[in-house]
Symmetry: D2
Subunit: 116 residues, 4 copies
């Protein structure tokens, strides 16, 4: 991931885009990209959204959107000085404690923030 972060820094520096990349703005850009992803999948059924069923055109679009989301997420983490991998490891461990296997088995409700 470090090399991608570096490339994004250079990309922005070359275009003098750092002035636009406040964390607040990057979060709006991230929202916009996730909105585009929703747009691709909104009328699909769950079954239609799966790897073996999804239509080729939507699949190609999804690839691009996932890339865009990842690039903005890396850029945002970089601007906030946050180590994405480290924080994700921590969060996953936390989730493991919050949703113990025996209590969470097959239970999507527990997964819900509102029930925490």
């Amino acid at each position: 991931m470090e090399d991608l972060i570096d490339k994004l820094r250079t990309f922005s520096k070359d275009r003098d885009w750092d002035q636009f990349h406040s964390p607040k703005n990057l979060i709006m850009a991230l929202s916009s990209e996730v909105g585009e992803l929703s747009d691709i999948f909104q009328w699909m059924s769950e079954e239609q959204s799966k790897l073996n069923n999804i239509d080729p055109k939507s699949y190609e679009l999804a690839k691009e959107e996932l890339a865009d989301i990842f690039l903005y997420l890396l850029r945002l983490s970089d601007k906030l000085g946050i180590d994405l991998r480290e924080e994700s490891e921590k969060k996953l461990k936390l989730n493991g404690e919050k949703y113990p296997v025996n209590l969470s088995k097959g239970n999507s409700v527990k997964y819900n923030r509102r029930d925490e």
Copy 2:
């Protein structure tokens, strides 16, 4: 990233959560997490959102949200069989052609999807 993807697989399998993790559902989960990130930053000015200015409480919350977003993004990519790094490299190259340095310098408008 491979190890994180593996851990997420095990995490879901242990809890029998694969049944909920259709790409469609994971995109909604991603939207929800990005919404939480917006919630943290919505009333901040751009200046207040920056690394050296952000208040400590918001910063800690932001770390967790970035982790959540990354975890769902990895899970979604895995379910769709998409290589996030490879697609991001491709997309970054594409962006380089779409926004040539000489034309895009300091110009946020060019960055706008609507002007493509």
Copy 3:
């Protein structure tokens, strides 16, 4: 809707919140509320999300989120001097031309912005 818009003006004025209600910030607030709505519905199947099937707790939460979204949407329109009803009438007419009945019947793909 006028009375609600007025009440929102008074509400913000009384609390000296106008300083926070730039259109940019209100859009982030709107994103955050829509994210909360996604959070409620993310693990439901389409069938489970329907009026006759939805669980009572989620239904009550959905009511509050829809209200929040509407309130921010009214506030944002007011701040931008946009007449929501008038623009919606116009847009609906436009959509009627863009998706002629004979071509769009039962076809969700046509509904997709990407195919416009």
Copy 4:
């Protein structure tokens, strides 16, 4: 608003689109539209986003997006049997109690869901 809701019903019925309009799907459509709104405003400063400063092209786009959001919000409320106006009145009253004038004056932090 009733007349708009009726028009939306007819619009969908004519095109046989009710099959796509589960609440879950409509929430994704709403997310997508709010994402488009974010896209328009993401690189603007707060000042640039205001009525007197916003560039004409963005303003026209914003009108369309606000209309789209309103139309999907009405459609979603209709499908869920929720009276948007009534719920919004209730919510506004609730907010009045949650953010008493004397404690909330000029204080955006209090406005934050996370501090409830």
